[in-house]
Amino acid sequence: MTCYRSQDSWHSYVKQCLSDAERNEMASHLGHCPECRDIVSDIKKTIKIISNPDIPMPQFDIKVNIMDSIDKNRYKQNLVSVNTFRLFELRNWGFSMIAAGVFLIAFNLTSFSSIIKTDQVTELGSSLSKQISIPLDKVSQAAFSFLNHLIPTSRTN
């Protein structure tokens, strides 16, 4: 072996799975390198001799045994657990949204306080809270009943 390219990608070359540029460049090399030409020739001959050999095939059905051996419900269970997780995530999102709403209302109330006289704050606060607390309760109750209706199984879990 003297050619530095004797161990190049000749197996890929023979299977014609190189880029056009690579293939052309290697073909050009073959034109003036008898050693690499011999290698390519030997690979082709070997393929011709031993490719796709005849082998005895089994007389029985492999598929039946495989299908009997696998747990066909294996991924159904996964599907249920994934959906449960998603619904649980959805319920958490519901709680988060309600908490965010409460926080925003509280934040708005504090911003009022800077422009209202101190003695008016208590009165205004109590009147606003009366107005706000009723719809908030209703919203919370509605959200709870909706979520419980939506995911009765996740509560049992």
């Binding site: 161990q7 190049d8 990608s9 000749w10 197996h11 890929s12 299977k15 799975c17 030997d42 690979i43 001959k45 070997t46 393929i47 011709k48 001799i49 031993i50 490719s51 796709n52 050999p53 005849d54 082998i55 005895p56 095939m57 089994p58 029985f60 492999i62 598929k63 045994n65 495989i66 299908m67 051996s69 696998i70 747990d71 066909k72 419900n73 294996r74 991924y75 159904k76 996964n78 599907l79």
Partner: protein, 205 residues
């Protein structure tokens, strides 16, 4: 060819997705598509029908149980062959009997033709397969996939998780080792380099 490969890829992906959302029966389609190919690979390693059948079953069951770890978008066949090759190599390490050394390769030197051609061809194929599988595992695997099953070096690299350059080197060395092995075992000795003198063998095919 490329279009055909893409179609197979998409069909495989469709079946896998169906299995992963609970259609376990759909796995039968995967078995239909790959059982012959995997049986062939298994047979090269085991050299007998019963062990090859058992290996194929184990490979398909293992693949099914690990199907959730298959990355969607990659080639399912490559993933499956990787499991198959690793499983076969494990089997070889644990159970493969020590085959008798290749002993009757002198049939390569005969130039006779006759009704026994089929028998001789099977014998030749069997001897070469035995010689290949008795090489060190890193060489036998690339030779099996390249010469017996028509994979490209790039595909073999993906299956065996190595670089294409490494596969090329192993093919080069593996082929040389196989040639030396067959050469040393052929009865004629000098002048019976079987893999570089296919004319004699070709007459048997």
């Amino acid at each position: 060819m490329h279009y055909h490969a893409q179609t197979i890829l998409k069909e495989d992906e469709k079946i896998i997705q169906a299995v992963l959302i609970g259609n376990g029966e759909g796995y039968g389609d995967i078995v239909d598509r790959y059982q012959t190919k995997l049986y062939r690979v298994s047979y090269y390693y085991t050299q007998n029908i019963e062990d090859a059948r058992d290996l194929v079953q184990d490979i398909f069951i293992k693949a099914y149980n690990n199907l959730s770890s298959f990355k969607q978008g990659s080639a399912f066949s490559t993933w499956l062959y990787r499991i198959a090759v690793n499983h076969c190599l494990d089997w070889c390490r644990k159970k493969r009997p020590q085959y008798a050394e290749v002993s009757c390769l002198d049939i390569f030197s005969t130039e006779e033709e006759g009704p026994e051609d089929l028998y001789l061809r099977q014998e030749v194929a069997s001897e070469i397969q035995a010689a290949v599988v008795n090489l060190p595992a890193i060489y036998s695997t690339v030779l099996i996939l390249y010469y017996f099953e028509d994979f490209s070096p790039q595909e073999i690299a993906e299956i065996t998780n190595t670089s294409k350059r490494t596969v090329e080197t192993r093919l080069f060395r593996g082929r040389k080792m196989l040639r030396d092995k067959l050469h040393s075992k052929s009865s004629g000795g000098e002048g019976h380099d079987l893999l570089s003198k296919p004319g004699q063998l070709a007459q048997l095919r």
